[in-house]
């Protein structure tokens, strides 16, 4: 195997593999990137078996063949390469030579036959969806995914076809829940599936900067596949049932507060500096026309900030984990206003951006 490629192209393709390869994996081959140099093109593949990415590299094939080498080390070498072009060549016994100008690296790889097969998608129905909307849907839900590995069915974002041809994504960690509906056309999902957080994190990276383009999305058995330009990303779906999220979305929250998103976010960031590390608890005292946000910590002291809001409900004191509010306000952006619909201090509240009916965030209060 031997090929020549531009440093910038190689770096760009290797970049996608960096988030996929596992540092502490029990299978050494999974730390490697598979490099296939064929007449049809040069492809780079990385996978941790749950998520995989395969990118096409522009280059000049000198000789066909395959090798695998450590993805992180190769990326570092290419990044520091002195010249604009590089040459990769397979030597005896899985050694790989990387040349750029006067610098020559020899690193040892592993037998490419050990590298896991990339799932074959051919003939599956792929749907085209706007990359920008897809990215927005991921960004507005993924932060609510649970990181508790014992609740594996919450370790991903649930995706299903909603009514009116809309696509819905839902994520929850058991304390808060984010739901987004967007009209981006049907994906042909017979029932909802759970996409793993790691796969979606990579997908979001892939979609960065792709504001106008379309990506293809398809599903096959327990796999999801996304194709953007010359890059294919697959992810193994999470098995298990997503909880019935419709049950925890409150239907009757009569106390309505309307807040300026930026004021709310900044007040929370300031006040929460004095909340406890573990639960980040803050208290909101809602009264007609204003809310006082307070935090107190026996070890540090206390903080309070009052902001003006539209509120005509009865006076209410409710505690929240400030992080949950800051998370959602950060992804929703500082412009505009948010509406918070409350019931009392023990029931979940709903937060929405005032101009976006397709998004809602349910948050369970803290016990005061």
């Amino acid at each position: 195997m031997e090929f020549r490629a531009k440093k910038a192209d190689l770096l760009a393709t290797l970049y996608w593999t960096q988030g996929i390869v596992e540092r502490r994996n029990t299978m050494p081959i999974l730390a490697n990137v598979l490099i296939e140099s064929r007449k049809a093109g040069i492809h780079l593949t990385a996978t941790d078996l749950e998520v995989g990415i395969r990118g096409k590299l522009e280059g000049e094939v000198v000789r066909e063949g395959v090798v695998t080498v450590g993805a992180k080390k190769l990326y570092e070498i290419v990044r520091e390469a002195p010249e604009e072009t590089l040459q990769l060549k397979r030597l005896e016994n899985e050694w790989v030579e990387i040349k750029s100008g006067k610098s020559v690296f020899k690193i040892v790889g592993l037998d490419a036959r050990e590298f896991p097969q990339f799932p074959k998608f051919d003939g599956e129905k792929m749907s085209s969806v706007p990359a920008k909307t897809l990215r927005e849907m991921i960004e507005r839900t993924i932060f609510s995914v649970s990181s508790d590995e014992t609740r594996y069915n919450l370790n991903g974002v649930f995706i299903e076809e909603a009514k009116d041809g809309k696509l819905r994504m839902v994520a929850t960690d058991g304390h808060r829940l984010a739901l987004i509906d967007r009209g981006i056309g049907a994906l042909g999902l017979a029932k909802g599936v759970i996409l793993p957080r790691k796969g979606l994190t990579e997908l979001r990276r892939l979609l960065e900067g792709a504001d106008d383009g379309l990506v293809s999305v398809g599903f096959k058995e327990n796999m999801g596949l996304v194709v953007k330009d010359e890059v294919e990303l697959f992810m193994r779906l999470i098995e298990g049932d997503f909880p019935d999220y419709t049950k925890v979305i409150p239907k009757d929250n009569p106390q309505l507060a309307r807040l300026t998103a930026a004021d709310f976010l900044h007040a929370l960031r300031r006040v929460s500096l004095l909340s406890s590390e573990r639960y980040k608890g803050i208290k909101m005292d809602l009264k007609s026309g204003k809310v006082a946000i307070t935090a107190s910590n026996p070890e540090l002291g206390e903080a309070v900030e009052e902001i003006e809001i539209e509120y005509n409900g009865k006076p209410l004191t409710v505690g929240f984990n400030a992080r949950y509010l800051i998370d959602v306000l950060t992804v929703l952006g500082e412009g505009g206003e948010v509406n918070v619909a409350l019931k009392d201090d023990v029931s979940p509240s709903i937060l929405k951006k005032s101009d976006d009916e397709g998004y809602l965030y349910v948050i369970m209060p803290m016990r005061l």
């Binding site: 304390h175 808060r176 909880p243 925890v248 979940p348 209060p365």
Partner: protein, 372 residues
């Protein structure tokens, strides 16, 4: 200034037996350990003279005190007497906290107008228990709960020690650290190794002082509790997990009730298992949502028991404890918060019923053969 009265019944089970049968008075009465394989659960002071102690194997007690009167455990009876003792305590203060079947902490703060000086009230309580139930008790009266407990321990048997406000440190300084609640044999060794032998030494170290004592700094008592626990020595060694679970339920009910009485929620649940050969293990688990609900505590304790108990190996003691307390300020769950609150209310209701009609008034169907 607060007034805490810690009362501890002397040789409770043995004393109940003596109260029921006056012929036993002045004799070495030993409850439990009759079979030789079982253990002593209580020994009268007459028997203690011969070296008999609670939790001692029966054969050893029989060797030390061959003339002793060995009696079987009658838990239902002791429970009944315990309820009677608490009924008396509750006449003197609304703030009676049961620490175990035979130990309680009574907050006498503010009872002066009704009953006179706290020390007089403490004397009256002990006298009432003696007169109405024919049972001996000892007590400690102090401005802090920890000091009250230490005083009660020192006062035994049939004594009452009043630690005057202002003299706390003088009273404590010469005492051994092993008298401090929360200092067991292991901790004592560690403290000794650091040169901390007396409570005076301990109080000189600000960190230890804060950890073990609840001195009144801001006019408000700080919590001194590290854990709330309940344990019981089984009448005879048990190998069946089902039998252990029954005992566990009883212990969990006790721990849950005390958590609710104190208004705290625990984030850490532990079980203690002691085998017949005295090998003891304690295993704990930290849970995400703090709880005071029996069912939740049992779920964790039972899982720990099943995971760690060696199958077929006879168990002689089981314990459950709750620690890492919080009073408020944790995140509730979106999916089952309603259920948690409903359970909490249910158990608080059960506590009220039991307070009114006794411990046996209501219980979980699986825990009918409770041993408290």
């Amino acid at each position: 200034m607060r007034s805490y009265f810690h009362i501890d019944m002397d040789a409770f089970y043995a004393s109940v037996e003596q109260a029921m049968n006056p012929d036993l008075k002045g004799k070495a009465v030993i409850v439990g350990g009759r079979s030789g394989r079982g253990v002593v659960t209580s020994a009268s002071y007459e028997a203690r003279k011969f070296g008999v102690r609670s939790a001692m194997p029966g054969f050893q007690a029989q060797r030390l005190c061959p003339h002793g009167i060995f009696l079987p455990n009658r838990h239902a009876l002791y429970s009944e007497y315990s309820d009677k003792v608490f009924a008396i305590l509750e006449q003197f203060s609304p703030a009676v906290r049961a620490l175990s079947i035979d130990e309680a902490l009574i907050d006498l703060t503010g009872t002066e107008k009704l009953f006179g000086a706290p020390i007089a009230t403490a004397e009256r309580i002990i006298a009432r228990i003696r007169r109405d139930l024919d049972l001996p008790a000892s007590g400690g009266l102090a401005s802090s709960r920890v000091i009250a407990k230490i005083a009660a321990t020192l006062a035994k048997p049939q004594g009452l020690i009043h630690v005057f406000p202002g003299s706390e440190e003088n009273f404590l300084a010469p005492l051994s650290v092993s008298l401090v609640p929360g200092v067991g044999p292991k901790t004592r060794e560690t403290l000794f190794a650091r040169g901390v032998k007396t409570i005076g030494d301990l109080l000189a170290a600000p960190k230890l002082r804060d950890q073990y004592f609840d001195f009144d700094a801001r006019g408000e008592a700080r919590r001194h509790d590290h854990s709330i626990g309940s344990e019981t020595t089984l009448d005879k060694p048990v190998k069946q997990i089902g039998e252990m679970e029954e005992v566990l339920w009883g212990l969990v009910e006790e721990v849950g009730r005390r958590l609710r009485t104190d208004g705290v929620f625990a984030r850490c649940i532990a079980v203690k298992i002691r085998y017949s050969d005295f090998k003891t293990l304690t295993r704990s688990l930290t849970i995400e949502t703090p709880t005071c609900v029996d069912r939740e505590i049992f779920g964790v304790a039972d899982a720990l028991l099943k995971k760690h108990v060696a199958p077929g190996r006879p168990v002689r003691l089981l314990g459950v404890s709750a620690s890492a307390f919080v009073r408020s300020g944790w995140q509730e769950s979106l999916f089952d918060a309603g259920r948690e609150r409903a359970l909490e209310n249910l158990y608080r209701g059960i506590d009220r019923l039991r307070g009114k009609y006794g411990a046996g008034a209501i219980g979980a169907a699986g825990a009918r053969r409770r041993s408290r």
